[in-house]
């Protein structure tokens, strides 16, 4: 690159600083929110967790061990210290270190989310491009109507309902695939489908609309005037421009997909964070809930950041266009 890198890196540095700043602010807000969660609960959380019949001495002792009697700022300080040293306290119900629970449960959730997202993208991009090419310049009205209707309906059905339907058809009726746990590779099939359908159709819809718009653009005519093969025109010239909008949505989809694992895990008895958080909320095991909320939140923030960086790589204008 030689002399160019100076200018380029300058812009990249500015972008990185701004993006990192936003990530840090969001993280700070997230940390504070997860800390305050336990203090926002009306009444005494420990009394709530242990139940009305627990002796007052036990409640007091537990409060003391959780540090709930310290001044708020000191608790906050201890909380931050804990988070940065990987110490999230102990579970109120199982007495296990929360960090152990997380490290045990996180991989299952992460694998599920990543596979589902990858499947969604791998399905959505070719589908969206194909539909875009087929329906460009007002052609293929019937295909457009069929595609749009199907995708709107599929995109609206919540993932856990799709999961229930899949359990019913493939697990109960046909008995083809396992419907609980993650012991075997084929156990991934149904949860991944349940999670991926919604994001895939939404993404495909957006890519189609973008493709149709991009194929009208002047630079596509330029590409045609260069007599490039159709493949190069659609994939090399049109697609990257259609993807910028799709990528922005990808960030949101990835975030909602991360959250979607909570419900889908509960449909498929998946041994991940989603089942743990639901159980912990019910049993008022607040340290566990706090930590898992934090983990999900960080996951979402990281997903958004990664998407922004990919966006900047793909379309350098987005670095400037941002804010």
């Amino acid at each position: 690159m030689g002399p160019v890198s100076g200018v380029l890196s300058h812009r990249w540095v500015r972008f990185a600083v701004r993006r990192l700043g936003r990530l840090l602010v969001s993280l700070a807000v997230l940390l504070t929110a997860s800390f305050l969660m336990i203090h926002l609960i009306p009444g005494d959380p420990v009394r709530g967790a242990l139940g009305p019949t627990a002796p007052a001495a036990l409640v007091e002792a537990r409060r003391e061990s959780l540090g709930l009697n310290d001044p708020l700022w000191l608790q906050y300080w201890h909380y931050l210290q804990g988070v940065f040293t990987g110490d999230f306290g102990t579970s109120l119900t199982s007495q296990l270190p929360v960090s152990d629970i997380i490290s045990q449960r996180l991989p299952a959730t992460l694998t599920l989310a990543i596979i589902a997202f990858a499947v969604a993208v791998v399905v959505a991009v070719p589908l969206g491009v194909l539909m875009g090419v087929v329906t460009r310049r007002g052609r293929g009205r019937r295909s457009e109507l069929a595609f749009t209707t199907t995708s709107v309906v599929l995109g609206t059905i919540p993932d856990f309902l799709i999961g229930v339907g899949l359990v019913y058809v493939f697990g109960v009726n046909l008995g083809w695939l396992p419907v609980a746990g993650n012991a075997t590779p084929d156990a991934y099939v149904l949860p991944v489908i349940a999670l991926a359908v919604g994001p895939a159709v939404i993404l495909a819809r957006i890519i189609r609309v973008e493709m149709v718009a991009v194929l009208e653009a002047d630079f596509v005519r330029t590409a045609r005037a260069k007599r490039l093969p159709s493949r190069t025109i659609y994939l090399g010239h049109a697609l990257p421009n259609a993807l910028t909008a799709a990528l922005t949505i990808c960030g949101l989809l990835l975030g909602s997909l991360v959250a979607g694992t909570v419900l889908v895990e509960n449909v498929f008895a998946w041994p991940g964070l989603g089942r743990t958080i639901a159980q912990s909320i019910l049993s008022k095991d607040y340290p566990v809930v706090q930590a898992i909320v934090l983990v999900y939140g960080i996951g979402v923030l990281l997903a958004n950041t990664v998407v922004d960086i990919v966006l900047a790589l793909l379309d350098p204008r987005s670095m400037i266009a941002e804010d």
Binding site: G2, V4, V25, S26, V29, M37, I41, P42, G48, R137, G138, R139, T149, V152, V153, T156, I157, P158, L161, V164, V167, Y168, V172, V212, A217, D218, F219, R221, T222, A223, K226, R227, L228, P229, T232, H237, P240, N241, L252, G255, S256, V258, A259, G260, V262, L263, N266, V267, I277, A278, I281, L282, Y286, V289, V293, Y296, G297, V300, L314, P316
Partner: protein
């Protein structure tokens, strides 16, 4: 406004989902009254049974009828969803209008908070609030309501920003109207419609979210039940009685979809719907013109021998399908371009000059249709389709388009965009091609071409982009450059540079040029020969030096007269060619220019004149070629124009 909503109900989707929404609401009202007792009736003889004639969807662990329970659950499910939606909208409105209400600094803080909150998915926020407010129906309403608030706040911010800058709102502010009053009187009424539409969508979302929370066991608790609670119980017995999960699942799905899709169709119906069509043309009634259409003209006198010709076009026609039959913006155009010749094509917009160029370059896309008696480029018949001569066209015919700002791919580096041509058509490696690209950028006088080649189009100025576009054209060894209004989008000072560049490329390599322009001056300056187009036909074909004074066609003469020069009296209004261009969907019988022509008579309005040579290297399509016009020499206006 009412009429617009009615229009939504007239679409199939709007009607279906509208009826469904109404049905769900009615069901929620009447179901507990009609079937409340049957839903709660305990039948200990029929515990956890499958579907039967008595219990259509089977029974639960206490022998209660699941079908009726699913119907009755509509009341609570809908109530909770609506309360949560209202909560979300109200809190969202407060947060979203905060910048308007509490002053700039605090408002900015609220906006930043909202921006952070919307990054988190609703379910995560709902879980957070569910922990804070506790498990149960009340906690779930608060959780889902508050979880929806940030996205509503964002929507309100956007809507308010659009309204708050409107003139009358600013006026009210200047007049000292209070903030709350501005909000209630001026802002809210203007954003009500999109808010209502989005609230409908949100209600569908809330319905499904409640099902989700209850499904996790965090929502409604026994003995109350909503659809999510039933689903939660049903999934536990899915092997015993699948209907126990299926029935409430289906119910929540239908209700959720109804609200969501109704909201979507309302949003689409009230917004601007885009109808795909032919962008080049107005798609109004296409009345096919009768006589004169098929009686096409060929100027055959003194045709140069084919070997001299780069381009040989005979009877070129372009048509697009229209509402009432095909629209024909190019109606039989015949011309040729010799090696190294510069041919100008002038005419008003809509005269078919750009479409002629695109048709020659085989760039008209379906549904457009190109037809020609002859379309030879360097002796090859282009009518065989663009694929047949891909490499020839890719290296020998260069295109330069009007708007350099939009004609480059914004996501790719300039060097790569130029290099592509050589990689695909000249078998170069990427590295060789990039070197060639740098060389070509230098040839078109782009400064510092090595650096420029690694930059993106948005880093180029308009004039530099247009030069790069020309550089892309000379990646191969073009024998013809087709430039469609190459300078129209540029500053006057830059225009000249681009024209000079085209000129120097012609001089160096003996390249032919077809220059399309609405600007007679530009064409007269650059070109050897000029075609004047009107309503899809060539009305005059003349040497460029004959433009001033030698032109025979009244239209050409009006065009030339309309050009302001140093002697134009700036006190007078600038001259124009009076009348309006012909709509390609509605071409009149006879000479298309007759309606604007001071010389037109009944013969002109009945029979279209053919393009015929009249000497001095001029061909003209006019029954009154060269007759005196009665042109007002002072203003250049056609004095008799209004008489027709």
């Amino acid at each position: 406004m009412a009429r617009r909503w009615m229009r939504v109900l007239r679409t199939p989707l709007g009607l279906t989902t509208g009826v469904l929404v109404a049905a769900v609401v009615v069901l929620a009202i009447v179901a507990p009254i009609l079937w409340g007792d049957r839903a709660d009736a305990v039948d200990t003889d029929n515990i956890l049974t499958g579907p039967s004639a008595e219990h259509w969807a089977g029974t639960d662990g206490l022998g209660r009828d699941i079908f009726f329970r699913s119907l009755v659950a509509s009341r609570l499910s809908l109530e909770l969803a609506l309360v949560a939606t209202v909560l979300g909208v109200v809190v969202g409105l407060l947060l979203g209008t905060a910048p308007l209400l509490v002053g700039r600094r605090l408002g900015r803080l609220v906006t930043a908070g909202v921006n952070i909150a919307v990054a988190f998915p609703g379910l995560l926020l709902a879980l957070f609030f569910a922990v804070v407010f506790g498990v149960g129906a009340t906690g779930a309403v608060l959780a889902i309501g508050l979880a929806g608030a940030p996205s509503f706040a964002r929507l309100v911010q956007t809507l308010v920003a659009g309204v708050a800058s409107l003139d009358y709102v600013s006026a009210a502010r200047v007049a000292g109207v209070g903030r709350v009053r501005i909000l209630l009187r001026h802002v809210l009424p203007n954003i009500a419609e999109p808010l209502v539409v989005n609230a409908t969508l949100a209600a569908g979302g809330a319905l499904l979210a409640f099902a989700g929370l209850s499904f996790l066991g965090l929502g409604v608790q026994q003995p109350s039940y909503d659809w999510g609670r039933l689903l939660f119980e049903g999934i536990g017995t899915i092997y015993v009685n699948p209907m126990a999960a299926f029935a409430p699942g289906l119910a929540v799905l239908i209700a959720g979809l109804a609200f969501n899709l109704f909201g979507e169709s309302v949003a689409k119906g009230l917004g601007v719907t885009t109808v795909g069509g032919v962008p080049v043309l107005p798609a109004n009634d296409a009345k096919r013109s009768g006589a004169g259409e098929d009686e096409h003209s060929t100027a055959d006198a003194a045709r140069p021998s084919p070997s001299d010709l780069v381009l040989d076009v005979q009877d070129l026609r372009v048509s697009f399908p229209g509402a009432d039959g095909p629209i024909r913006p190019v109606r039989g155009v015949t011309f040729s371009v010799r090696h190294g010749e510069a041919l100008g094509v002038v005419g008003e917009s809509g005269s078919g000059k750009s479409l002629t160029a695109l048709a020659v370059a085989q760039l008209i896309e379906e549904p457009g249709h190109v037809d020609a008696a002859r379309l030879d480029f360097r002796g090859e018949d282009l009518r065989e389709g663009p694929r047949a001569h891909r490499h020839l066209l890719g290296t020998s015919m260069a295109m330069v388009f009007q708007d350099p700002m939009t004609s480059f791919n914004p996501t790719r580096r300039m060097g790569g965009q130029l290099a592509e041509v050589a990689v695909h058509h000249q078998g170069m490696t990427r590295k060789q091609a990039l070197a060639r690209a740098v060389d070509r950028l230098r040839a078109v006088r782009v400064p510092d071409p090595e650096k420029r080649a690694t930059q993106y189009p948005h880093e180029f100025s308009g004039g530099m982009r247009q030069r790069a576009m020309i550089g892309m054209g000379v990646m191969g060894n073009p024998s013809l450059i087709i430039a469609d209004e190459p300078t129209t989008a540029l500053d006057v000072t830059v225009q000249q540079q681009v024209l000079d560049l085209l000129q120097s490329i012609r001089d160096e390599d003996d390249v032919a040029l077809v220059l399309i322009s609405h600007d007679v001056t530009v064409v007269g300056e650059v070109c050897d020969r000029v075609l004047v187009m009107y309503a899809g036909r060539i009305v005059e074909d003349l040497p460029a030096d004959q433009l001033d004074g030698g032109a025979r066609h009244p239209y050409t003469r009006a065009l030339v007269a309309a050009v302001p020069d140093m002697h134009t009296d700036l006190e007078q209004p600038l001259a124009v060619v009076p009348g309006r261009p012909v709509d390609p969907a509605d071409v009149p019988v006879g000479c298309a220019f007759a309606a604007r022509c001071p010389l037109a008579d009944d013969h002109c309005r009945a029979v279209d004149p053919p393009l015929a040579p009249v000497g001095d290297g001029i061909s003209v399509a006019c029954w009154h070629a060269g007759e005196p016009l009665g042109l007002d020499e002072e203003t250049g206006e056609l004095m008799e124009a209004e008489t027709v």
